[in-house]
């Protein structure tokens, strides 16, 4: 990345791997459970969080010297809630179809702990440009895990990807279903999201043992 200094590039790269918000910081688990039954929903959520966290981090960073520390959490909440609601209203007026797809996620974005976590841990102590990069990096790291989890859940649970029947038709018994394969309905339920996230955490930590916590 020629445009960014090494330190700035690390802000983008670290959350994708060794400081991933989901698998290392264990934030954002609630939405990782809720919306990974379908690949499309996971992508929409990732893009929304990218947008909100990128802009929110900049706003909080610009305000960092005037926010009273006693009420900083409330201020952060107001900033993120206002951002999400304004975007939602604008979409409802100008891109109604898209807003209907997103309406489910509005609540999930506001309560996403990654957003509050990055405001609190990074944007309050750093300048706007670095905060922006941090927001982008963390939401990409979040999105990558979400998409991996959703890929396996939709494929094994429903036999589809982005709604396309990649494994054949389970009712007409075509494709792999002709050989007696069955969808695993359990993959669509929330516990399997946790198990898939757990498997990713396991693989990541066994490839890089420095990540294993002592306690």
């Amino acid at each position: 990345m020629g445009l960014l200094s090494k330190k700035d590039a690390a802000l983008i790269k670290d959350p994708l791997a060794d400081n991933n918000p989901i698998t290392i910081q264990v934030l954002g688990i609630c939405s990782a459970l809720a919306i990974t039954a379908e690949l499309e929903a996971a992508i929409v959520m990732s893009v929304s969080v990218l947008f909100v966290l990128g802009i929110g981090n900049v706003v909080i960073s610009l305000m960092r010297n005037i926010i009273p520390s006693k009420i900083r959490i409330i201020v952060q909440l107001i900033v993120v809630a206002a951002l999400v609601i304004i975007v939602d209203q604008v979409l409802k007026a100008f891109a109604y179809e898209l807003s209907k797809t997103l309406s489910v996620f509005v609540g999930l974005i506001i309560t996403n702990c990654i957003i509050m976590g990055r405001f609190e841990a990074f944007a309050l102590a750093n300048g706007p440009w670095r905060s922006f990069l941090d927001g982008i990096g963390n939401s990409l790291g979040y999105g990558v895990i979400l998409i991996i989890v959703a890929f396996f859940r939709e494929l094994l649970g429903a036999g589809t990807l982005l709604g396309f029947k990649v494994l054949g038709d389970p009712i007409e018994k075509t494709g792999v279903y002709a050989f007696g394969y069955e969808n695993n309905g359990f993959m669509l339920l929330a516990p399997m999201a946790l198990i898939v996230v757990g498997i990713i955490i396991w693989i990541q930590r066994s490839r890089n043992t420095a990540l294993v916590e002592d306690h």
Partner: protein, 248 residues
């Protein structure tokens, strides 16, 4: 950080200023965009009603509405009458489709006679009766537009939801679920029975049309139960209208 931002006076002033600025911003956005949003919602209702009676742009598997540009014209072409049923009285109202079902349910709870909108459509010589209904899913509201013939046999349905789980309950708006309702009767031996979203129906292709049952979505039990309850309690109120229709 400087002492200034730690003082109580500063904190209170900051909080007040923040509330005024953010509140003003939200109020401004909401009221400036309200007419556009209302218009979008109105067009969506027309699209939903047309969808239920089979006027849509569906491809092989996904549900597609007619475009918003065509919706008003097609709506006035296919919907011949808009009725409001209140305490047994039937009247015509060309804006019946704008009646807010949620508000009517609340006012019925408060003891008032509920206004029930019903849209009469005509397509290729066939008459459709389309009722807007509303109920509860797992997380939030679900609603539907159900097109019936004069014997209360479903001719088409459009389901939608506010916040059901993506990939599970949210699939009530997928065609494979909605299309199962086509041909199912809400009546059984002359009595109103509704349609049950049933697990263990052993009829995934939905070939039995006379059993008052459609196949449920795996993993979406509560949403399915919500659909069952909504169909039963809401459409039951239309039964007297259909009985009158037959007797006259």
């Amino acid at each position: 950080m400087s002492k200034k931002t730690d003082s109580n006076v500063y904190t209170i002033i900051f909080a007040i200023a923040m509330v005024i600025v953010v509140g003003g911003l939200l109020a401004f956005t909401a009221s400036a965009l309200r007419p556009r949003i209302n218009n979008n919602e109105r067009l969506e209702k027309q699209q939903n009603i047309l969808y239920a009676m089979g006027v849509n742009a569906n491809d092989a598997s996904s549900a597609v509405f007619v475009s918003t540009a065509e919706a008003p014209e097609l709506f006035s072409k296919y919907i011949t009458k808009q009725l409001v049923i209140q305490a047994g009285e039937v009247s015509e109202d060309e804006n019946a489709y704008l009646i807010d079902v949620k508000k009517e349910q609340a006012s019925a709870k408060a003891g008032n006679a509920r206004r029930l909108p019903l849209f009469v459509g005509n397509k290729d010589g066939k008459t459709f009766y389309i009722a807007p209904i509303r109920g509860k899913g797992l997380w939030d509201a679900i609603w539907a537009y159900v097109a019936m013939d004069e014997n209360m046999v479903v001719q088409g349905a459009y389901f939608d939801h506010k916040g059901e789980t993506a990939g599970l309950g949210a699939n009530i708006k997928q065609r494979y679920f909605m299309d199962d309702f086509i041909g199912e009767s809400l009546m059984s031996n002359g009595e109103f029975k509704g349609i049950t979203v049933a697990k263990g129906n052993n009829d995934p292709k939905n070939e039995r049309k006379d059993d008052n049952k459609v196949d449920a979505i795996a993993g979406a039990t509560i949403t399915g139960d919500g659909v069952t309850a909504m169909l039963k309690s809401e459409l039951k109120q239309y039964v007297p209208y259909f009985e009158n229709l037959k007797n006259n």
